[in-house]
């Protein structure tokens, strides 16, 4: 049994190389930026609102809680998507049985989607 392909096979070497190159590319650009760009920071530039009244206390941008709801829904449907992967790779073996399983799974999540829609969670101010 070719068990060794599961440990450090060449596929993962490629993934590792890609990660390393992506990381070094990002670092390179950041460093170049640091070296070459002019940098003259001043307090007025750092103020959240550059004109009008000075802020009395540190200003925090006010995010709507709706962002949070959307992020929450994203996580939930993300996890749903995860469950579809192992189903997809053996779909031909599961056949109709698997199809019914997945339809009921997605159907339940779809109920959640309709609910969120109806409750206005997807509306934007």
């Amino acid at each position: 049994m070719p068990v060794e392909t599961q440990t450090l096979g060449e596929n993962w070497l490629v993934v590792g190389l890609m990660l390393v190159s992506a990381f070094s590319m990002g670092m390179l650009l950041l460093t170049l930026n640091k070296i070459m760009a002019p940098s003259k920071p001043s307090a007025a530039k750092a103020a959240p609102y550059e004109s009008g009244m000075p802020d009395i206390e540190p200003v925090r941008p006010s995010y709507s809680p709706r962002f949070y709801v959307v992020a929450m829904l994203f996580v939930i449907f993300d996890i749903e998507a995860i469950f579809i992967f192992p189903w997809a790779v053996i779909f031909d073996e599961l056949g109709t049985y698997g199809f019914v399983e997945m339809v009921s799974f997605i159907g339940l999540l779809f109920v959640g989607y309709i609910y969120a829609w109806k409750k206005g969670a997807l509306e934007w101010v």
Binding site: I90, L94, I114, K118
Partner: protein, 512 residues
Amino acid sequence: MPLDLNLETPDLWLALPQFIVFGLAIALLFGDAFVARTRHFVWLTGLSLVGYLAALVALVGQANENATTFYGLFRADGLTVFLSVIILSAAVLTVMVSASYVERLEGRMPIGEFYVLLAFSVLGAMLVAAAGDLVMVFVGIELSSLATYVLAAFAKRRLTSVEGALKYFLLGIFASAILAYGMAWVYGVTGSTDLDAIARSLAASVGGDEFLDPALLLGLLLLTVGLGFKMAAVPFHFWTPDAYDGAPTPVTAFMSVVPKAAAFAATVRIFVQALGPLRDEWVTLLSVLALLTMAFGNIVAISQRNVKRMLAYSSIAHTGYMLVGLAAYQATGGTGFGAGAGDGDQGVSSLLYYILAYNFMNIGAFAVVTWLQHRGRGLTLDDFGGLATTHPLAAAAMAVFMVSLMGVPPLIGFYAKYYVILAAIDADLLWLAVAVVVLSAVSAFYYLRLVAVMYFNEPEGQPRQADTRLLDVGIAGMVIATIALGLFSTPIIDLADKWESALTVAGQVAGR
């Protein structure tokens, strides 16, 4: 080959009551989204009541089953049925208690969502009761807890509600993580997540004077900690007072019964059914927990002036009494109370009966608190002053529940403690039996103090009028149940004895 696919169509009819509750939850979800808000109160309350009652009726079909489906994940046996009866009746009572509270108090909370979450929590607890596999126990507990966390924060404009729910949530997920870790160790040692397969594997490897595998002991310990959090046993009770106090009162009533029932269902399923061969180890652990829990709950409850907090500590104390029942488990696949003392296990039956009794009297007590909140009273002991003159019936109902929680003879609470004590004596745990009696006497102080305040103090202020018909019916029903189910306890304990059908495997392997 072991990883072969063997696709069998599951027997859906076997899980009919669970499917009814599931359908109810989905129907409520659609009702909440598509029915006009003005009709929610009547329609969704009615739908919930009908749904839970239909599920109760459908349980009759499971009554004499002893079968599994869904590849062994779902079990229909005596334990499933008895626990489902408790959970469903708690659900019906919660609906009756909560309807007007959710609709009118605390700034009119969204009642549709409330019922949806309630239904999912009930479904999760029922799935734990019917679980035949560690994974199912975990998923069921998660479903139940997740919905309950949200319910605890349901009065989201009141900070105590959010704060209590946050503590409940953080400690609850912590407990879930520990529970899952414990399950992973048990799986690692036994190679299966199926409860019966675990029992078989352990029976083959454990026994004699051999030293117990540390990995197994670790798994057992982690499971105890995780379940201890869920059932609010001392020293894992920290979240209880704040969560119970902060949650809207009907939710507190629900939280004190259904998640607790689910936790005990999980404990019986895992410890008795799967880890039965390790009985000697966990019985010691649970008896220590039981003593601590009883003592702490009862003693701290004395100093509480807030009735909801007092009932929270009292519920910790009752967890202790229930744990005594579980600690009295004897690994004989015997016949329970029916066959007379000394012959078989009585512990689990007494535990089941206790949860049933606790269901009626505790939800009852919280129901009276809710009833008073409708009439503008607060939650402190002083707010109950002179209740007997202003509202004699409510005072009488509260007195019945208090006396029953204390354990006075004709009432259901007495029989519950009676069976637990019998089981403890039968299992040679005399010290625990004595502790139950002594601490019940201690508990008399705070239960009777409330009764005394209601009957001997002067009332303050003018009560407000309120129309709470459904709640009135619910309280009346619980008073009747508290009195009648005690007097006719024999058929119920016989029904509870049927839990042993869950032990088809573990019972044989423990065999004496």
